[in-house]
Subunit: 101 residues, 2 copies
């Protein structure tokens, strides 16, 4: 089943832009990962909040994407900028617009 | 700014599949709407919950999409199947994978 995940990150005060840059960089790297269908980085009205929407061919593809050393390095760089993580919701994608046929 | 929206619908007990079908039908209709980038229908582990992730060129495109009579008709059909709506979050999409360049 196509796997979806979305969650909210709260950046350390005043450091959202740096975290957004790291995450959009991660999204760019995922262009080469056929298992990743969507990796969308967004901000909300809350000044430190970042939302990420992800869609993957399946959960295994998502989990495997976290293993490479270069991804671990990105996570290590991002962690000090993160004040909190909340609302991570896993979903089974049924279908819709914007997904590969 | 590219507009994102996600929210949770809770179907009347046992009627999730019917509601999912209406929503995926709505997504199919949106294939013809250039303002709609993503309209993804998903279910979570909660038996009656449906999550929808939407991405639009901007909020105006989203708002305009709710006006046509045929969409109003779909909403009218869906309403009796909905027990609750919660967690609707509006976001400004910064970028990422799966969006048109």
């Amino acid at each position: 089943m196509t796997y979806g995940l979305f969650g909210k990150l709260t950046a350390q005060p005043g450091r959202r832009d740096e975290l957004v840059e790291i995450l959009t960089g991660a999204a760019a790297a995922l262009e080469a990962d056929p298992g990743c269908l969507h990796y969308v980085v967004a901000t909300s009205a809350e000044p430190d909040d970042i939302w990420v929407w992800e869609a993957w061919t399946d959960k295994a593809a998502h989990d495997a994407s976290l293993e490479p050393p270069e991804v671990r390095e990105v996570i290590t760089r991002a962690m000090p900028l993160i004040a909190g993580m909340s609302g991570s919701t896993e979903v089974d994608i049924v279908g819709g617009k914007g997904l590969p046929a």
